[in-house]
Amino acid sequence: MSRFLPLALLAGLVVLPLALGPNPYLLNALIVTGILTIGAMSLNLLLGYTGQLSLGHIAFFGIGAYVSALTSLGFDVEIGFGLRVVHAPWPAAVGFLLATVAAGSCGYLIGRLSFRVRGAYFVIVTISFAEVVRLVALNWVELTQGPLALTNIPAITLGLPGLGMWTLKTKLQNYYLVLAVGTLCYGVIARLVGSQFGRAMRGLKENEPLALSVGINATRTLTVAAVISAAMAGAAGSLYAHYLRIIDPDVFLFATTVSMVIMVVAGGKGTLLGPIVGGLIFGLLPVALRPVMAPEAQWIVYGLVLIVILFVMPRGIVPGLSGLLGRRSAPTVPVLEASPAVQR
């Protein structure tokens, strides 16, 4: 039954805008939630499956946003020694691909550098990395406009030469673009996790010496996971830039990383659907609360909801619910287990 759950969820998300009707406010909330959820899914690959907490995950998101924006806007900067780099604007779709590659490369760098030192050291390296990148974005004004923000970022244009092009300007188009990218990311993660690579990640998380002793290459496995995770975060950042059409160094806010961690932990880390469930709940909670309370009160409710979820279901919503369902169908299990003994 649970194998059809992702498909049912996907079908629900496909028809959701039709059911909502023209409601720009809600659609906007859904798009931003979707983008953050992709970020949470990518974070889950590291936090949930390898057990490494990246508290600088927003760096990859922000790098994706800036690379994509700058690729599609073009720039003209001096990099010292009298050298100038001039870049003419390229299509936004190319920016999206470059954003993925650039963020993935940064993931490789961080992975190689920091997986020699795990745990708390990894957390510190990732936080520092995010802060350094934020300061660069803030202070390299010639390239990034600093606090003045990069504006007029073009919307993504899709299409093939000869078949026609579509510029995704409306909210509805962007919603489906985010949904498509999210589905793609889900599929890639599901495939990874269900493969030998996924088992290698789990083995390293559960018992590293034993994993090494059965021939699992720790550095390689963790680096590949970091690259894929960072690339997905970069893709999410690119979607963000081309949807909002304006970005400033605030995309590197530490609070956004914390939001993603909350989504993953509340939904259930190390599960495929966990970050999506967590993302939808914590992304849409402000929408539900806005009519009834002030923003400050919303944050309190936000915290309370997290505490209640983790109090009732310490491993998160998805493992908690599947545990409940499992217990309900439990009577079949002892019968199955008893049979070999009966045969003896």
């Binding site: 495939r191 030998q196 083995g203 018992n207 034993l210 059965v214 290459n217 287990e337 070999p340």
Partner: protein, 271 residues
């Protein structure tokens, strides 16, 4: 017969402490060799050196002619030298079957051949099923097939040891290092394990064993290497070790636990 594993004048020092001093011995292809000695004699340290978890301060280990110096643990496993662990021998949060499938790490494709649609549906592809069959066969072989669906961390110690052995065998080794495999097992489980060790040898796998259970060591070993204070003090077939005055003194010269072990040695000699 040729030496499959050569420990060549290996020494390990932790600061001023000498854990192993100039350890030198060979294991021949197809043998069952035991490494024994009182607690703290350096047996597990020797295992850690052979499997790349520790770098020796001096000397080298050769496996099938390859010098293992500087090789990472996973690379040594890929050469065909597998090991089990004393205490934490399983991946506790996974099922027994998944444990062995993790152990079959090198058999699968890097990305599963599961199609994109199957992945979205949570189904597994043909490669995945073949892997599962292999894992089930291995579990059946070590005798814990009926535990396949249970969480490995929930099993009894003795059963976890068997999962550990299945995991090591999953890497398709030519030599297996067993670190105290029967500790925590009762007498009948130990007897079953002795048979399993002989079956493993029957598959052409050379075995080096660290164990405190003296009757079991005397029963299965072709040859015994005795360590004390990081030094090799005796080497030879069980009969000779049993009667070796140096070995008996090494055990008697220690605390009460050592006395018991020595008594066990003598008891096994009578049996």
């Amino acid at each position: 017969m040729s030496a499959i594993l050569s420990v060549e004048h290996v020494g390990v020092r932790f600061g001023g402490l000498v854990a192993i001093a100039d350890l030198h011995f060979d294991v021949q292809d197809g043998e069952i060799v035991s490494l024994i000695g009182p607690n703290g004699a350096g047996k597990t340290t020797a295992f850690n050196v052979m499997t790349g978890f520790l770098k020796p301060s001096q000397g080298a280990v050769r496996f099938r002619g390859t010098c293992l110096d500087g090789l990472a643990p996973h690379a040594i496993t890929r050469l065909g030298l597998a090991r089990t662990f004393q205490r934490t021998s399983v991946f506790p949060d996974d099922t027994v079957l998944d444990n062995v499938m993790i152990g079959l790490h090198r058999r699968g494709a890097p990305m599963s051949r599961t199609s994109f649609r199957d992945a979205l549906l949570g189904r597994s592809g043909a490669g995945e099923r073949a892997l599962r069959d292999r894992a089930e066969a291995l579990l059946d072989w070590v005798g814990i097939a009926d535990r396949a669906r249970e969480k490995a961390g929930a099993l009894a110690y003795g059963e976890q040891r068997l999962v550990g052995v299945a995991l090591a065998l999953a890497t398709d080794p030519t030599m297996l290092l067993l670190d105290e495999p029967v500790s925590g097992m009762n007498a009948s489980e130990t007897r079953v394990f002795v048979r399993l060790i002989e079956q493993i040898r029957g598959r052409g796998i050379t075995i080096l064993l660290v164990e405190h259970d003296m009757p079991m060591v005397m029963e299965v070993s072709d040859r015994i290497v005795v360590l004390n204070y990081g030094r090799l003090i005796a080497e030879g077939p069980p009969d000779r070790i049993r009667a070796d005055p140096v070995v008996i003194e090494a055990y008697l010269g220690q605390g009460s636990a050592a006395r018991q072990a020595a008594a066990a040695v003598l008891e096994a000699a009578d049996a």
